[in-house]
């Protein structure tokens, strides 16, 4: 019988489907993947160390550069953690504004996911449609915060500006078009035989493994576990909204794709309810000019970001700068699933698996 030695193929860090600086060292046995060793750190910017020399308010722009595809989510998690640390409350209107931009961010992130999955598998057309629709969200972020991609819109105690008048027609027409967009994605992507063949049964992650390895977000829900922090441990005002938690059946790449497309619809529902119920009032509460939480306090606050559980562990020392900020990045922990789901598969499945595990390297490397 013919015997071959295992050999190594490097995917990344400079590779179109490495999503920005991920290296997967792949040990191959013939055509089968024996193991994948993930190398991170190519985008490490020592964000946690920088936080210790910035005031609490100054860290917000750094947080927006963690998950730069959905920048309102990491900044939301950070300011809510500091608000917990201080024990301050946020005006009602600010809470609703936060929910609207956070869910728009989630949609934007999931559109990038679907678009980049399409292009990773060779379907350029699918990508163009997703990016076309995401562009409208970027325009809305520009209206509300002045920044498109890495918006530092969140403030400790609220948000930096109220929505301008032009925002409402934009978001309403976007929500009106959402069902049409989704049926377009289903036509272009979900109905595409090649995409189905490349995703179905590829990279199966069992529910037990997902929980044991701390996989969160759509990746966990695709494995059939209906665990969404917005539902299980609601933060802000998420207990006021009605939405479903979509789950998959077998935890393969296809489920990870369909769960995210369904989440886009659910985010649309949440935004509709938030627009309907949003009261008038302040968008920024009264907070001390210099934020100085008492010494020795600590808090762990987590939100459901587009990628999974995003947590901030903040320890104060009585000064205007934090003693320690630790970011529990969902992309970092979720990448532990890559070797798990890729072993025994083929080389091209790794591309699918990276795309459907949907890491954002700014967040995983910090």
């Amino acid at each position: 019988m013919l015997k071959t030695d295992p050999y190594t193929i490097n995917i990344g860090p400079q590779h179109p489907s490495a999503h920005g600086g991920l290296r997967a060292e792949t040990i191959m046995d013939g055509e089968d993947v024996q193991d994948v060793i993930v190398h991170l750190g190519y985008v490490h910017r020592s964000v946690e160390k920088i936080a210790e020399s910035r005031t609490y308010a100054q860290f917000v722009p750094y947080a927006s550069r963690l998950d730069y595809l959905a920048s309102h989510l990491p900044t939301l998690g950070y300011v809510q953690a500091v608000e917990k640390l201080l024990g301050i409350t946020v005006p009602e209107r600010a809470e609703y504004i936060r929910v609207i931009v956070a869910e728009l961010s989630r949609i934007a992130s999931h559109l990038i996911f679907a678009g980049s999955l399409a292009i990773d598998l060779g379907a350029t057309t699918g990508m163009i449609y997703c990016y076309r629709d995401r562009e409208r969200i970027m325009d809305m972020f520009e209206m509300s915060s002045g920044q498109r991609l890495i918006a530092s819109y969140m403030r400790i105690g609220g948000v930096s500006h109220d929505f301008p008048d032009s925002f409402y027609p934009a978001v309403k027409s976007f929500l009106g078009d959402l069902p049409k967009m989704i049926s377009e994605y289903h036509g272009l992507l979900s109905g595409n035989e090649i995409l189905q063949a490349r995703c179905k049964g590829v990279g199966v992650l069992s529910a037990d493994d997902a929980i044991a390895y701390g996989i969160t977000g759509p990746n966990l829900r695709a494995s059939g576990v209906a665990y969404d922090i917005r539902r299980e441990d609601p933060y802000g005002i998420y207990d006021r909204f009605e939405f479903n938690v979509p789950t998959g059946h077998c935890g393969d790449s296809w489920d990870r794709y369909t769960v995210r497309i369904e989440e886009i619809e659910q985010s649309g529902r949440i935004i509709e309810q938030a627009l309907r119920d949003m009261p008038a009032g302040d968008y920024l509460g009264k907070v001390p000019r210099i934020i100085k939480p008492p010494a020795g306090r600590e808090v762990y606050h987590r939100i459901e970001s587009a990628k999974g559980e995003l947590g901030y562990h903040i320890v104060s020392n009585g000064t205007d700068k934090p003693h320690r900020v630790h970011v529990r990045a969902p992309s970092f922990v979720n990448m532990m699933a890559l070797p798990l789901v890729s072993r025994g598969g083929k080389l091209q499945d790794i591309i699918t698996n990276i795309a459907t595990l949907d890491p954002v390297l700014g967040e995983s490397d910090r």
Binding site: G214, Y300, R302
Partner: protein, 154 residues
């Protein structure tokens, strides 16, 4: 006005009373969000194992290391999937000179990379870890930048 209403809520007192029975807990306290268990480093693995097996805390959400003056503190934030309303933070303290904590990879596989990160950035050695190498910084980097005594050169 709203507050972030995800506190540990009712049952916290009962939870604390019951947790007192758990062997190996040095100190137990709570704030509005978590029940904190201060555990001696030698009993960490057994405490974590019984939190997993007897208390259903099957989800190690976060592992972070904090540098205090002469000690490191490693904090483990535990939840349950599906959620059972309990939020438990386990803390161990080790002196600077002997920054060694037993690895939890055999109890919670998710500890693997999170422990590597704490080793990489804070220099805490997790004994029994199968592959304790740097994860974010280059392999030839010297020092552990999140330590308070780390000096930046640039």
């Amino acid at each position: 006005m709203t507050s972030h209403d995800n506190s540990i809520g009712v049952g916290a007192a009962e939870l604390m009373a019951a947790l007192r029975q758990l062997a190996g807990i040095d100190e137990i306290s709570q704030d509005e969000f978590f029940v904190y268990l201060q555990v001696d480093v030698s009993r960490l693995v057994s405490v974590m194992r019984s939190l997993l097996n007897d208390w259903g805390m099957n989800y190690l959400a976060n592992l972070s290391a904090v540098d205090y003056d002469s000690e490191f503190e490693v904090v483990y934030h535990l939840y349950a999937i599906p959620d059972n309303g309990k939020k438990i933070a386990v803390k161990v303290r080790v002196p600077h000179q002997q920054a060694q904590v037993p690895s939890l990879v055999t109890v919670f596989p998710t500890a693997d990379w999170q422990e590597r990160e704490a080793f990489d950035l804070m220099g805490i050695s997790f004994s029994g870890h199968p592959n304790l190498v740097r994860i974010l910084l280059p392999d030839d980097f010297s020092g552990h930048p999140l330590r308070k005594d780390f000096r930046k050169e640039a």
